[in-house]
Amino acid sequence: MKDKQDSLEQAVLNDYKYGFVTDIDTDVIPKGLNEDVIRLISHKKNEPEWMLEWRLKAYAYWLTLEEPTWANIKYPVIDYQDIIYYAAPKPKKQLNSLDEVDPELLSTFEKLGISLVEQKRLTGVAVDVVMDSVSIATSFKEQLSEIGVIFCSISEAIQQHPELVKKYMGSVVPMTDNYFAALNSAVFTDGSFCFIPKGVRCPMELSTYFRINTENAGQFERTLIVAEDESYVSYLEGCTAPMRDENQLHAAVVELLAMEKAEIKYSTVQNWYPGDKEGKGGIYNFVTKRGICKGDYSKISWTQVETGSAITWKYPSVILKGDHTIGEFYSVAFTNNHQQADTGTKMIHLGKNTRSRIVAKGISAGFSQNSYRGLVRASKHATNARNYSQCDSLLLGDKCGAHTFPYIEVKNKTAIVEHEATTSKIGEDQLFYCRQRGIDPEEAVALIVNGFAKEVMNQLPMEFAIEAQKLLAISMEGSVG
């Protein structure tokens, strides 16, 4: 037992491996938020008038709102006037290829183990890299555009495809949705836009790397993915951030639209700076992610591996509007030290014969608090709706907490909804079994935790599965249970 505690200590002491700052000139506007700042952001991004109006409307609405307090998280009051809302790495010149990208920037990504060059050459993954707020390089774009796929930064989309952006932006997550979505709508600086035309199966995994770099710069990305009839896309998102003392705010919005028979697979590995072992610093991550299965027979699948951030407030949801649509949510949330996570999903069954599946695994260590909060709603007309939810929590210390708050609302007599949740620590018998066979305690725990999370990890695309497993291993190192 003593050994166990010591090793847990070690795990707790583990340093954040991705903590470094890239020294690049950045174009920064002063701290604070007001209409002028929004005008400035819009101007800097050279946006059309309607976009500015949209932002101002969202800002006006945001001013009427109060910050929500219902989540099971505690944090000091955020001073929204003490945040820089726009920071763009200064482009030295117009870039035509990867070779022209700032070498320092490239080496940053190499440290993270995702060299663009290598990825481009070896894996065939198109990477739209977001460094702070502006897309630096976009690869494989031409290849994609040949088959009609539009994959670019959201700012570029506003310039080049205003009709699409106008039509879909805010249609899934309206600016009035919640406090953080309204804030994002007002000040979003960048993000990705992806459009898959009818009948196209996107030949490669689309991925983007978000990285918060400038001190005090909150990042507000906005991602919009539209999959037209009978199309398919798999989108990857991964995050790491450098070590900082001051809390950084992150309020992203992700919108997915799946038309008839379309399928969107959205995977996330989130490893932002979680703060030091006293709970100082770390990213505040308030994200609104929602997808709508608009057409019949469409499918949206969320997979997430959350190991970072001081605070995670995130509920990727699916609105099952079309008939025969499918929503999925797979999640592993690992919290350590003083991290707090309040995460889960919403499955809103509206159409007939809709199905959803939720698998959420929470692992808490140190002094962390890990909550699952979810909603499954079968509306009156959701005939034959079917849901299965499973949330399991694993506790790796006696100072941490694991909580579940599932809401289930059923109004249709043909709906079948099932939910189960368990909370426990690693079984002594399982540990004993491993140790008896000569596996040291540390490895045994890693083995058991890996098994615990396997069901979710299996859902990740190859490229991410490896990274995710590495991340979990880093978090687990030394934490013998």
């Binding site: 929590s393 941490c400 694991a402 909580h403 099932e418 368990t422 909370t423």
Partner: protein, 432 residues
């Protein structure tokens, strides 16, 4: 906006009556809470799915009643001739209608007023109104503000009373809308046993609203069996709070049956405040018409090595609404806790709604906790099996629903009560 001046007037009136200082302090404090918190709304998390503001749109009379012994005789549950019968009329304990068979050496039944003025002064002072530590809403405080003629029961040390206790809550709504706020405290001493069955009856066709708080304190090695039967009229609403504190290593077994009523809200709180406590909670709600039933359970595991198990099953038909909210808390000290919960629902109509929300809040690591809940329908194959054997559809459905209920009914230990509930359920389900 709901006008609450009625309660203010009533409260001022109540202040004129003389009361023990302790009781007066609770009233005062509760009334302040009520004024501050107001009535719960849909924005109050604990009341998200249950709106009770409609109950406050009218005035209730709190005048005398005309209930006679003959009225009580008509409402009796089987086995009554061997039971201690306690009768509350419009929320006030009525000695003259009650019938206590057990002797003073087994159990003592006193009005709260007498208890607080006599030998039980300290005990009542120590244990009364502890429920406010867990329930902070206005509706609960309203009961505290009007603590009047409640009852205090003491099951004496080492005694297992030969006769169980039946409690009848009678609301006389033959002329007026009636509000009743019964309040009781039961002290189950060491090595003793309490068997209690509560039921609620509204007479007349006017509305009634019963806002009950029952506190039970369970000492070392004591056993509590508690049955609640709610089969009142469609215009009878109630908020019924049962707050059980297991302060010594003890055993608690409860079954709550909800069949008919208007808006029915049950708060079943179990505070496991000693090492090695055990609690079993069962519930069954079979709803038809417009009945709205909301079962809130709370298990707070405060000490190590406690065990609790919950099984709540329900059916919602017509335009009824069933709500289940089960909360399990495990405090940092409560290592080796085992706590399980299961909630199963059958939805029989598209106008009915089922909302369920199991919650786990765990702050200790060496625990085993789980919850599960389902919403579904009757098994098609089982129905087919029965119909293939010549049983008509309606009958087959009743049969299956009876079987579904049996899981819970099997936990009603006194045979007389179980047979009574089975009969009620059969009648309830057979109405076409």
């Amino acid at each position: 906006m709901i006008d609450l001046t009625y309660f203010k007037e009533q409260f001022e009136q109540l202040q004129l009556e003389d009361a023990d200082e302790h009781i007066a302090a609770i009233r005062k404090q509760s009334f302040d809470t009520f004024n501050k918190a107001g009535l719960p709304t849909f924005h109050t998390e604990e009341w998200k799915y249950t709106g009770i503001s409609s109950l406050f749109n009218q005035t209730y009379a709190q005048i005398g009643h005309t209930i006679t012994a003959a009225d009580v005789a008509a409402l009796r549950m089987p086995g009554h001739h061997k039971a201690n019968e306690l009768v509350f009329v419009n929320g006030r304990f009525d000695f003259s209608l009650s019938n206590i068979l057990s002797s003073d050496t087994e159990m003592k039944v006193l009005s709260l007023k007498d208890a607080v003025n006599g030998e039980y002064r300290d005990l009542v002072g120590k244990h009364l109104n502890k429920s406010t530590e867990y329930i902070k809403d206005g509706i609960h405080a309203l009961n505290g503000a009007f603590i009047t003629e409640g009852v205090f029961i003491h099951i004496l040390k080492g005694k297992i009373p030969h006769h169980p206790i039946y409690v009848y809550h009678i609301l006389d709504s033959r002329q007026h809308h009636t509000l009743a706020q019964p309040r009781s405290l039961i002290y189950v001493d060491e090595n003793s046993k309490l068997q209690l069955t509560e039921t609620y009856v509204t007479l007349g066709s006017s509305d009634s609203f019963c806002n009950e708080v029952l506190e039970i304190v369970v000492e070392q090695n004591a056993i509590v069996e508690y049955y609640k039967i709610q089969n009142d009229t469609a215009n009878a609403s109630q908020v019924s709070t049962t707050h059980i504190r297991q302060v010594g290593r003890s055993y608690v077994h409860t079954v709550a049956i909800t069949l008919n009523g208007g808006i029915v809200r049950n708060n079943m709180n179990l505070i496991l405040d000693a090492t090695g406590n055990e609690a079993h909670l069962y519930g069954l709600y079979l709803l038809r018409g417009k009945t709205h039933a909301d079962n809130h359970t709370l298990i707070d595991n405060r000490k190590p090595e406690c065990f609790s198990n919950q099984l709540y099953k329900g059916i919602a038909d017509d335009s009824s609404t069933a709500v289940f909210n089960g909360r399990i808390m495990v405090q940092p000290d409560a290592q080796k806790t085992n706590s399980f919960q299961s909630n199963k629902n059958i939805l029989l109509s598209d106008n009915a709604t089922i909302n369920t929300k199991p919650q786990l809040e765990i702050f200790a690591d060496d625990v085993k906790c789980s919850h599960g809940c389902t919403v579904g329908q009757l098994d098609e194959e089982a129905l087919f099996y029965l119909r293939a054997r010549g049983i008509p559809k309606e009958k087959a459905e009743v049969l299956l629903l009876q079987a579904y209920s049996a899981d819970v009914l099997a936990h009603i230990k006194p045979m007389a009560i179980r047979a009574y509930v089975e009969k009620l359920i059969y009648e309830h389900l057979s109405i076409v």
